[in-house]
Amino acid sequence: MSAIDSAIRAAATSIVLDGVSKSYDKGAEVIPPLSAELRAGEFTVVLGPSGCGKSTLLQMIAGLERVSAGAIRFGSREVHELEPKQRGCAMVFQNYALYPHMSVFDNIAYSLKVAGMARAERLQRVEAAARMLALTGLLGRKPGQLSGGQRQRVAIGRAIVREPGILLFDEPLSNLDAQLRHDMRIELAELHRRIGATTVFVTHDQVEAMTLADRIVILNKGRIEQFDTPRTIYHKPASVFVARFIGSPPMNILPVQGDGSTLRLASGEVLARSSLKGSYQLGIRPEDIQINNGPLQVKLRYREELGSHSVLAVEIAGNLIRISTPFGSDIGSRDTFAVNFPPERLHLFDAGDGRAIPYAFTRAKALADA
């Protein structure tokens, strides 16, 4: 373990957001009061559609945007009134934002130079960072002479050279092509394991979120929809928004009516048993639907063969849903076939605010058993 690793690991602190909110002069509230604690050394991904306030949140943590109210603490230290350089965090930007006129060395060393570090120590630090990121041979080049992945690594080098306890990433992979994005994802995961900085990573890409995160914050219109591990978010989405946002193809959501013993579509098909009454939204993931056997008749609209699996778009009483099956699954040449919604795989959400109703089916089952 080199000096940079241990210094960063030692500096890593938790990030506490305490009722942080952001609104602009003209009255538009981008982020309503929001609280969360990101643990020290944890890799947190902030995930949300564009315009949900995730970049604003990141810039408030960085100190590039002022908070309108609330407090931000790194560990026990209040930082929301401090300038970025006093906070001890570093950031990697979407377009790298390297200084085009400086060499790779100068780009990485710039923050140390501004801080007034002696030349010899600067040299040593930059070389250590360059070694860690396999940039040693490129130190003399200008950013314009580098490939996208190399620029990305320089941007990371510029961030870690100051040995910050907190690393912030603002959609750093969205400018790379698919292959490179995959490689960089692995590199980032390795880097995080090695240096152990508290990391906040903003993205709109669910694959990045699922693969990189210890925990994911899902933001919608500035509110936290769910803050949990990728696994929990996938299997127990806290709202319709999360259910639709995570998973590809997204979860099927169907409007249902409860009559005290069953949940039915408006046209009368019974989808599940439940003692609940009133309007709900029923969710089931495309891969959880069983085909060729079951009580429900669906009509095939079209199918997509994706190599690893097939996606069937089918119609059930006027609602279009997707089913994901192993590649080439035989439904014959029939236009209609039978499907089954396994009750343990169903999710139930409130018809109004879209929040999940936990244990809706286990409780119903328990009641039925009793």
Binding site: Q59, A62, G63, L64, E83, P84, K85, C89, A90, M91, F93, Q94, N95, Y96, A97, L98, Y99, P100, H101, Y110, S111, V114, A115, G144, R158, D170
Partner: protein, 305 residues
Amino acid sequence: MIENARSLNIVAGLILLTGMVYILAPLYLALATATQSYQFMLRNGIVWYPGDQLLANVVRIFTETRIPLQMVNSLIVAVLDALITCVLSFITAYALVFFPVRWGSVVFALILATIMLPLDIRVITTYQVAANIFSPLNALFDSTGLNGLLDSMFGVRLALEWSVLDTHFGLIAPLVAHGTGTFLFRQFFLVLPKDLVKAARMDGAGPLRFLIDILLPLSRPSFAALFVLTFLSGWTQYLWPLVASSTPDMQTAVVGLARLSPDSDGVMPDFPLIMAGAVVVSIIPLTMIALLQRYLVRGLVLSEK
């Protein structure tokens, strides 16, 4: 369309050639005239073929006229005009683009207005102010009644006076007040990646360090382009130096050239001498363009790779 390409090229070539002749013919005529003697011209008029008196005419420019001294004046005016314009434009654009300036768009509109109100159309008012820099202040005192008050209390009136006519400062200052450079830098700053400022802030660089370490080196081509353009416009200024300088020693070369033709009617001007002067006077801006042409193009094309 491939068949048409050749004939299209020929037509385009012809149009270009016509344009070149149209522009170069007068220049050639000036050069040819500069090589004749005054006596030759009096006998034969202006002719298209060159003579052998160029050197003699140039020597006369340096010995018999004030053009050399006036070229020094031109150089002072053009260089300072260009330098000060560059610095002011750079700082103004920096403030407008990177800081949330209240009424920033209004300020920018006012700056743009100076482009639409060139010195030539406000020459009289500019002359009034140059004749007495304090005249706006005096007018303010008069119109607000403050002077009346002073008069009744102390029996004196405030009437400050400071003329900058016939000084280098007076020649330069009105030329500097011009928004083109601010506009140029503003457009350049706007195409820079937004995250650059944020990255510099994360690196701990304050506004001044960002200006010096990041923005200034990146703006070099824009600086060069603006410098050349302003230098050329300063060098070729005619109307303002004509009215703002009254003594020959303070006049610029272009004004001096015009003064080479005699004021009295009926005398044939010494065109060979004047044209030789014109050739000498254009050498400096020509050198300038030759040296900095590269930057001129790069600075005006706004994208920075």
